[in-house]
Amino acid sequence: MTSMSIRDSQPTPVAISLGHNQAALEVDLTIYAERAVSRASYKFTDRCYLLLSRSEQPGWLKVTFGAKHEKQDLGPLLGEFCNELLDQQIRDDLSIEAGPIRDLIVAQAFAEGNLLDPQRDDGSYEDDALGIGTLR
C-alpha cells in the first residue's frame, strides 16, 4: 500500500492507499460533512463500487473503492472523487445557509397570504402605518 496525497486548493491532505482492484481514502470529518462524502460517493456508483466505513482514526471516514472490472485504474477516479468532495462540501454549506430560505420560498409560493409581513394583506392604506405615503 502506498500513500499519496492529492493536491488541490484545499490545504487539508486526504490519506490514500492503493491496492489490487481496491483503493481507500480517508476523509477528515472536521473538514468535510458526512453528507458531502455520501453524496460524492453516490455519484461514482456507476463507475466503481464504494463502501463507507468508520476509520480507525477517530473523526475520520473511510471510503473504499472497488473496481468494477479487471485492469480498471482507480487512480483517476480517486482524483475526481476528491474534487467532487469539494463541490459537495460547497453544496452542503449552501444548503445550511440557503436551505431555510428555499423552504420559505416554496411555502410562500403556495400560501394564500403573505407569510412574512402581515401588514401587507391586512394593513390599512388609509392609516399607512409604514409611512409609505410620507411626503418628501
Binding site: I105, A109, F110
Partner: protein, 508 residues
Amino acid sequence: MESARSDKPRPPLFRPLDHYRQRTEGYRLLPFRFMRWPAKEVLLVNDVGEFIFLEDQRFKAFVGHRLDLTDPRYLDLKAKHFLLDTESNVPIELLATKYRTKKSFLEGFTKLHLFVVTLRCDHSCHYCQVSRVSTNRSKYDMTKETAKKAVELMFRSPSPALKVEFQGGESLLNFEVIRYVVEYSQELNVREGRNLEYVVATNLVPLTDEILEYLRDHSILLSTSLDGPEALHNSNRPRKGNDSYAITVRNLQRAREVLGHDRVSAVMTTTKLSLGQPREIVDEYVRRKFGSIFLRSISPYGFAVRTGEALRYETSEFLSFYKQALQRIIEVNREGYDFVEVYAQMLLTKMLTPFPSLYVDLQSPSGAGLGAVAYNYDGEVYASDEARMLSEMGDKTFRLGNLHEEGYEEIFGGESLRALAAGSVLETLPGCTDCAFLPYCGADPIFNHRTQGDVIGHRPTSAFCSKNIEIIRHLFGLIREGDPFVKDLFTRWATGVRSEPMTRYKVS
C-alpha cells in the same frame, strides 16, 4: 418672525447613490445549484431556472462570501436573486411568485385524458407493446359503458381545460366509441363549461370521408406517425402489404384538405434503424410540410419483446443522432423554413422563460397519473400510456384502478398513485437534488421502475438522466457559441413569439 439660523448645513435636495445603498455586512447566498463547466467555468442555476455562468475563481469568491460589490458580476448575481445583501424580504417574495409560476402546471390537476378505445391494429410497429392484429371487437374494443364511465371520471378533474386523446391500437377502428365519447362529453360539458379539446392518434389507414367530416365538424385534431423516409418508416412500422408510408402520405394529404393544414401533426419514434438517418428524417418532415418534429427516444423497454433486441440502442447513439438532427433543423430554419424541434422547445421554455413546460414528460412533480391519465379499453385506469404498456407485459404496478369498480377518490387518491408520486418530485430524488439542471428536467418514475427497479431510480446509471443532461448541455453550448441566429431561433421556440425580424442576422 425670523427663521432661526442653524449651524448645521442643510441636507442636499438630492442625495447621492451611497445614501441609498443600505447593505448588510456582506451578503447571504440565496438557494441555487451549480455544475462545473468546461474551460474553468461554473454554471449556477436558481430554483426558478434563472442561470448565470461564472469563472471558477469568481465562483470560489462568491461562495466564500468574498465577492466584492465592485466585481462586474456582483450586481447581476444580486438582480438574478443569487445573493441577498439587504434586510429586504422582497427577493424572497419575487422568488416565491416565480416558483409558483414554474409549478403552475399543477393547477387543475389532471388535464390530459387518454382513451385507449381499442387494441386492434393493422400495423405491428416494433416499438409497440399492445396492438393486436385482430378482428375480435368484443375482446379488444372499449365498450360504450366503459367509455361512459371514463368520461364521467374525466369530469371529476377540476381542470378548466380538458384534453381528450384517443389512442390504441388503431383508435379509428373503434370510431363508434370515439364518436360516443365526443358527444357524451360535449353533452356533459353544457353544464360543466370546460374547455374541451380532442385529438385522435392514428396511422391514418382507416380514414374515410365520413370520419374526416366528423372530425372537421367537431374541431378534432389528428396526430399521426411518420418515422422518416419511406424505407425507414416501413421498416419500423410493418403491416400487411408493407405500404404504411404510402397510405400515411396519401391520407395525410386528404386529412389536411378537409381539416386544415395545421390540424394534423406527426410524431416520430427513433429505432436503431433511424440512427443513421437524422438529416433524412428531418428533410422528410420538411418535405411533408410539417411545422415541427418531436425527436423521441424510446426506452429500452419500449420495444416489443419479440422484435426488440435488434432495435435497441444506447443513449450515446441516440445523442449523436439527436445532435445531427438538430443541426439539420437549425439549417432548415436558416434557409427560411420555420421548423421546431419539440423536445428542445420544452427544455428551452424552462431555460429561457419564466414558464413551465406543459408536456407531462418533463415535469416535477411528474405528469404521469397527476397531469395525465389513461383509460384502457377494458376499464382499467393507468397513470400513463407507458404504464398500461407495462401492464400488457405483466407488470401492473402503475394500475390506478378500474372504472367499473372504483370511484374517483379511490383511483386518484389510492396507494398506487401515491407511491408513484413519491418518485416524481425531483427536488427529493438522490442525484437530482443537487443537479444544476433540476429546474429544466423532469421525473420519470415509470422509466426508473422499468429500467432500474424502483420509482426513485439510480441517477448515475440512468439513461433518462444522461440523455437529458447531455441535451441540455448541448443546448447551452449552442446558445453560448454566440451565433445570434441560433439564440433568436431558440428564443422563438421557447416563447412561441414571431416578432419583427431583426436585421443583424439576416443571411443574404
